[in-house]
Symmetry: C2
Subunit: 525 residues, 2 copies
C-alpha cells in the first residue's frame, strides 16, 4: 500500500542524543566514594560517551562484544552505559556483592573483554584476575584511568549502527540454585521498557524532575531509570555510597523529588532518622520500592510523611518492570489503613506486560482473578526474556509465558499479590503449604526474632515442613512452645515436624534467606 510513516529504528543511542539536544544543561550529580561531589550534564555525558565509544573501538571492541562494569552509581558508570551501547557493544553490569565463584563464572561466561571497576573493588579485582580468562583490559573508574582513556579522543564520531533487535545490555540473575543466568536486553526491549516507565504510575518524570536512584546501576537496568531520565531531561543524582546520612544530604542539597530502591534502604534511613531526629527531605514526593515487599509499617510511615510510596514488582528477566501500584478509582475514599493494604500488593501490569497465575500442578489451567486462588505467576511481554544468554533453548512455555518462580494471587481489579516462591512451597500429601504464611505465623511468637519455613523430604508425605528459628535475645522459647503457639493459627497438617534454633539464618549473596542451605542442612530430619 502506498503511503507510510517514517523509518525510525529503536536504538538506545537515540536516548542520550535526545537528552543532549533538548536537555543539554540538565545535571548529573555524583557524590563519590571519597566524599567529592562532581557535576556534569547530558551534553557532556554524551560527549564523554562518544569519546568512550572511540576508545573502545581503538581497544578492538567489536559490535556485540561484552564490556563489564563492577561499580556503584556515578557519572562515569553512566558514561560507560551509553558509550558501550553506542559503540554497538553490550554493557554487562556485574553485581559486586556476589560470591567470588559467581563473579568468576559470570565474567567468564559473558566473555567480557574489558572490565571497568571502582577503586573500592580493586582488592576483589586483584583476587579474581587470575580466574578471569577473557578480560584484556582493566580500567578503574575513579583513579584517573578512565579520564586517561578518554583523553585521546575527541568525540567526533557516529554511533555504531545496530539493528533494534541487537543486544545492548547484559545482566545475570543471582538465582539461589544453579549457575547465574544472563538476560540479554535488546535495544528494542529496552526502549519500550523505558518509554513505558515514563507514565505517571511508574516514574512519572517531567523535565524538571530530580531522581536519586538508590537502586544500583548493576541491578537490572537500574529499573530503567538511567534511560527514562534522559528521555525526559530529568536530573540524575548518584551516590557511590548508600549511607543514610549521605543519601539524605544529597536529597536535600539537590532537590530530589523521587527515589527508588529496595526496602532495606528505607529501613536504614528510618533508623537514622530515629537516631538523629532529622526529617525526610522536603521536596521528596515519591518513592518507588521494589526488589522485595516493603513492610506495611514502611508504607505507612512514608504516607504519613506526605510521600507517595509506590510498590513495584519485577525481576532481571523482566527488564525489570513487571507490575507497579496504580491507584484505584476510589483511592480518595479509602482510609489510610486500606491504602496501606492496597500498596502492600505488588500493583498492576502496565500496557505491554501480561500476567496470569496458573495451577501449581497443571500449568495449562489458568486460575481466576479472585484474590484467593494462588498459583504460579507467569508473565510475558516485549521486555520479558525469551532465552537466556548462550542457552540452547527458550526459557518460556507455550505462547511465550515465562514462569517467574513466584506464587501469587491476582485480585479482581488485576492487582497482584505475591504469596511465596514456587521453590519454597512445601508439598505435603499432595497439598501445598505456604512457607511464607507458616513463618509469618511463627514470627508472631514473642520469643521469635526471625523464622524460616522449608520442606524436607519425607517418604510418606513427599515433603514435610520444618521451621528454623532465631530467638530474640534474652528469650528462650522451646520447640513445644512454638508448636503450641502455631496450633490455632495454621491447619494441623501444616504444623512443622521439627523446630531448629539457630544463631542466625543463612543468607544468599543478595541478602535473601537461603532456604537451599537450610534444606541441605536439615534434610536428614
Amino acid at each position: 500500500m502506498l503511503g507510510r510513516m517514517q523509518d525510525w529504528d529503536m536504538v538506545m543511542s537515540r536516548v542520550i542524543d535526545h537528552a543532549a539536544r533538548e536537555h543539554a544543561d540538565r545535571e548529573i550529580v555524583t557524590r563519590w566514594a571519597d566524599g567529592r561531589t562532581t557535576r556534569t550534564n547530558y551534553a557532556a555525558i554524551r560527549h564523554d560517551a562518544k569519546r568512550l565509544s572511540q576508545a573502545l573501538r581503538a581497544l578492538g571492541v567489536n559490535k556485540g562484544d561484552r564490556v563489564g562494569t563492577l561499580a556503584m552509581n556515578h557519572a562515569n558508570h553512566l558514561v560507560a552505559w551509553y558509550g558501550v551501547v553506542g559503540a554497538g557493544a553490550v554493557a554487562h553490569t556485574i553485581n559486586p556483592r556476589l560470591f567470588d565463584d559467581q563473579l568468576i563464572f559470570i565474567a567468564n561466561h559473558a566473555e567480557d573483554r574489558i572490565l571497568f571497576y571502582d577503586a573500592a573493588f580493586a582488592p576483589l579485582v586483584e583476587r579474581l584476575k587470575p580466574h578471569w580468562h577473557g578480560i584484556e583490559h582493566y580500567i578503574c573508574f575513579d583513579d584517573g584511568a578512565f579520564e586517561t582513556l578518554l583523553a585521546g579522543h575527541d568525540g567526533d564520531c557516529d554511533w555504531t549502527p545496530v539493528d533494534e533487535r541487537d543486544p545492548c545490555m547484559l545482566c545475570y540473575t543471582s538465582g539461589t540454585t544453579g549457575d547465574p543466568k544472563g538476560v540479554l536486553y535488546e535495544h528494542r526491549s529496552n526502549m519500550l521498557h523505558s518509554m513505558a516507565g515514563l507514565q505517571s504510575s511508574i516514574f512519572g518524570f517531567e523535565a524538571r524532575s530530580v531522581v536519586l536512584p538508590v537502586v544500583p546501576l548493576f541491578h537490572a537496568n537500574a529499573w530503567g531509570l538511567p534511560w527514562a531520565a534522559p528521555m525526559t531531561g530529568t536530573k540524575l543524582v548518584f551516590s557511590a555510597v548508600n549511607e543514610a546520612a549521605v543519601l539524605l544530604d544529597l536529597m536535600e542539597q539537590e532537590g530530589v523529588d523521587m527515589t527508588a530502591g529496595v526496602p532495606t534502604v528505607w529501613m536504614a534511613i528510618f533508623a537514622y532518622l530515629d537516631e538523629t531526629g532529622r526529617s525526610l527531605p522536603e521536596r521528596l514526593a515519591r518513592v518507588i520500592i521494589g526488589g522485595a515487599a516493603p513492610p506495611s509499617a514502611m508504607i505507612r510511615r512514608l504516607i504519613d510523611a506526605g510521600i507517595e510510596p509506590a510498590h513495584a514488582w519485577g525481576m532481571t528477566e523482566t527488564s525489570p518492570v513487571g507490575t507497579v501500584t496504580m491507584l484505584p478509582v476510589d483511592w480518595e475514599k479509602l482510609d489510610v489503613g486500606q491504602q496501606v493494604v492496597y500498596k502492600s500488593r505488588q500493583g498492576k501490569a502496565p500496557f505491554g506486560v501480561e500476567i496470569r497465575c496458573v495451577d501449581l500442578d497443571d500449568p495449562s489451567l489458568e486460575l481466576p482473578r479472585d484474590g484467593k486462588t494462588s498459583g504460579a505467576l507467569q508473565v510475558r511481554g516485549p521486555w520479558v526474556v525469551r532465552r537466556y544468554f548462550k542457552a540452547e533453548e527458550d526459557c518460556t512455555g507455550p505462547d511465550q509465558w515465562f514462569e517467574t518462580g513466584d506464587v501469587a494471587v491476582i485480585h479482581p481489579d488485576g492487582s497482584l499479590q505475591l504469596t511465596d516462591r514456587t521453590k519454597d512451597l512445601i508439598k505435603s500429601g499432595g497439598e501445598w503449604i505456604s512457607s511464607v504464611e507458616l513463618e509469618n505465623a511463627a514470627a508472631g511468637h514473642p520469643g521469635v526474632a526471625e523464622a524460616a519455613a522449608f520442606g524436607v523430604p519425607d517418604a510418606k508425605w513427599t515433603e514435610r515442613p520444618v521451621l528454623a528459628v532465631v530467638r530474640k535475645s534474652g528469650q528462650s522459647p522451646t520447640a513445644e512452645d512454638i508448636l503450641r503457639f502455631l496450633s490455632d493459627k495454621v491447619a494441623k497438617w501444616w504444623l512443622p515436624d521439627a523446630v531448629h534454633f539457630l544463631d542466625e539464618l543463612p543468607h544468599t549473596a543478595t541478602g535473601k534467606v537461603s532456604k537451599k542451605t537450610l534444606r541441605e542442612q536439615f534434610a536428614g530430619g
Copy 2:
C-alpha cells in the same frame, strides 16, 4: 548471538485487549446528540469491536481496505476505530465540517468501501451519495443500524493478523491549497505515539484519570487520546455535541480531570461562564490546548482558576503530537506573567520527535536556537509522515526532515515558538516580512476588529504587503489612519502598499483566515 527478549509486534489491537483485561470495568460515557447518556466499559467496547470486525469481514472488507467514519465523538465511533483496526482494515476518519468538494474528493481518493455516519449528517450523506463511487454500505451510528449490524455476531474471533508497519488509520489534511492529502498512520507509529503520550508532560494518565476529549475523533487520531486512555484504564467521556453547557455538565457529573481541545472551545466555555456565572468544574485539573495558539488571556484565566493549561503543537502529519509545554526547572520561581509567556510558546519536543529551523532561503542551513532567528520549521520522528497516501514520492527532504510549513524560532531551552506560516510570509526586496507581526500591529488600532496581512505580486520587489481590515462596528478608520498608526510600529519597508476594508474576512472550512482567497481577490493591486 544467542539469547533474546520476547517477540512482540506493535499492533494496535493490543491496546484494547489490555484495557479489557486490566481495566475491564472502566467506563466509556457518551452524551449523544439527542440528549441521552449511555455507559459502557472497556470489556464491552472490546466485545463490540470484535463483533464489528466479524461484521466487516462478512461484508467483504479485507485487510488494508478503508472504512470511513463521518461522525462526532461517541462510544460507537470508538468501537468503529478498534473494530476496523482489529479487522486489519484502515479506519478513515472524515471531518464532516469540510466543504462538499473536499468530502467528495476524500472518500473517493481513499476508496472507502463502507461509511459509518451520524444521523446528524444524514442530509450531507444523501447529498453526496451520488458523487461517492466506492462506498458499498452506508451504516448509521445512532439510528439502530449499527446495533443491527453487530447483532448477528458473537465476538468470538481473533483479530486479523497484521504487520506492525501495516496501516491502521487514515486522516486527510485540510490544506488551504490543492487537494487534501491523506496521512496513513501505521500500527507501529500509532503505538509509539500513544506510549509517548502517556508521559506526565503530555497526557499524564493514571488508571483513575477521567478525560473528556473535546478534540474530535476525526481530528488526527484525536491527538492519540483514544489510544492512550485504554493503555492506562483512563475513563473516557464523550460528547456528540460541543455546547459549553453540555460539556460543563458532563465534566461535573463524570468527574472529568483532563480535557483537550482547540482554543475556540475555551472561548465558548468562558463566554458561557461569564453569561451564567457558573464556575469551572471542581475536579478539572489539566487542559491541553492545541490546533491553534491559545491567547494569553485564556492561559491566564485557566491558571487563575487553578487549572494547569498545556499548549501543544502538531499536525495531521505528526500523528499529531509534535511539541508540548514542559515546565522549566525554575517554573516555581516565575511570576504568573512569565508563566503565561512561557505557556504561550508551543512547548518542547518529547523523546521521539526532532525539530529544527532552517533558513527560509537555504534549507541546508540549520539555524541557531537563539530565540531570535526565525526560519522554516522541520520535524522528523517515528510518528511523522514520510509519504502521503497514494503519493508517488516521499514528502520529506534529506534525512527524512519534513517541512511543516510553519515559521518559528526555537529558544535556547528548546522551546518552540511559531511566528507565521511559510506561505503567508511576504518576500519583499529579498527580505521576509512576517504577516502575523504586521496584522498583530494593525489589530492594535482601536478601530480595527480583525486584520489580515498578505503578499501580492510586485514587479520590482517580488511581493509587497497588503492589509485587509474589518472595522469595529461604529468605527471608521481610513487607510491613512492605519498606515500612520503602523508607522512607528514596523519597519518602513513593511508598511502595506494598500489597506482594503471588508465586512468580514474569508475563512477556510476549518475556520482559519483564507489568505489564499485574499491574495486572489487583491492580486491586481
